[in-house]
């Protein structure tokens, strides 16, 4: 009975059946442009599977965003302006390269502070036990 139920059960489709966007899985012809696009895609967050970049994700929205990035790069737009356009839509959350702001300054400052503390500790322990 269980086997029959499984055999008869129709899968619930929760993904579009439409084909992916033209440049979702196709590289740009110009290798330099493709490299620029790829570098940008790796720093943009997939908004569906939030731990991944759009370069890594197979979500249909990520595919559409890759296509958008490649189309705009092919038209000669620079990566910074594409990133700014997306930040305007989704906020800083969309980028893995967060701009320095009131909320993000600890991210930028913490490594420097930690390095300084480390250097201080190292200096003191070397001074204590000189060779």
């Amino acid at each position: 009975m269980a086997a029959l139920c499984i055999a008869l059960a129709a899968p619930v489709l929760a993904d579009p059946s439409t084909p992916p966007a033209a440049l979702a899985y196709t590289q740009l012809r110009d290798p330099a442009q493709e490299a620029t696009a790829k570098a940008l895609m790796e720093t943009l967050r997939c908004l569906v599977c939030q731990g991944q970049s759009i370069a890594d994700s197979d979500a249909s929205l990520a595919g559409d965003m890759r296509s958008l990035v490649r189309e705009r790069i092919a038209k000669g737009e620079n990566p910074a302006s594409i990133r700014a356009w997306l930040i305007q839509r989704y906020g800083d959350y969309v980028t893995y390269d967060p701009p320095l702001s009131a909320v993000t300054w600890p991210l930028w400052l913490a490594p420097i502070v930690l390095l300084a503390v480390g250097a201080l500790l190292a200096r003191q322990s070397f001074r204590r036990r000189p060779r």
């Binding site: 059946s17 559409d64 930040i87 839509r89 906020g91």
Partner: protein
């Protein structure tokens, strides 16, 4: 370093551990909200023109949303399961006199017609967004999502996820107040 200082330093790792433990425990009991909200609230609706995809129903363009009447713009798809749950609430909003415009994400005509036949059709217009371009321009990250747009075309509210029975009155009020 003095003796007192050294004794104090002895407790430092434990204190740091306790602090880290507290941070992690707080995250465990009160997980962060992972909803991606649009940054377009309070901004004018972006410029777009989407063709129609259902016979007898026009597509959707910015001009419709800036013509002086507030609207509820519903981003949906026939392949989206929560959209089925949301459909009766949209029918209720329509019955309350809320003008509803649809943006169909990556849909086919046949699938969409079947969806409207099964779940009802609350839409005045449905725009065909094959490449999620308008969805991204709106700062929407999934289906279903709904935006209240005032008569001048400014986005005043975003509802992420399906509109439930308890949300209907608030959304109807937001559209009424969005003159």
């Amino acid at each position: 370093m003095g003796r007192g200082m050294k004794r104090w330093m002895l407790w430092l790792p434990l204190a740091v551990f306790a602090l880290l433990f507290a941070v992690v425990a707080a995250g465990l009991f009160r997980p962060a909200d992972r909803t991606v909200r649009s940054a377009m609230i309070g901004k004018p609706i972006p410029n777009f023109t989407l063709p129609g995809m259902v016979p007898g129903k026009p597509g959707l363009a910015t001009a419709t949303l800036t013509a002086g009447r507030p609207h509820l713009v519903n981003v949906f798809a026939s392949w989206c399961v929560p959209c089925i749950a949301e459909a009766p609430q949209l029918m209720r909003l329509k019955a309350m006199g809320v003008p509803i415009e649809g943006i169909a994400i990556r849909d086919t005509r046949e699938d969409l017609l079947g969806f409207l036949r099964r779940n009802g059709d609350p839409y005045e217009r449905i725009g065909d967004d094959q490449r999620s371009a308008v969805q991204v321009a709106l700062g929407s990250s999934g289906v279903p999502e709904s935006f209240v747009v005032d008569g001048a075309g400014t986005i005043v509210l975003q509802h992420v996820g399906d509109i439930r029975a308890e949300d209907v009155d608030d959304i109807a009020a937001a559209v009424r107040n969005a003159k």
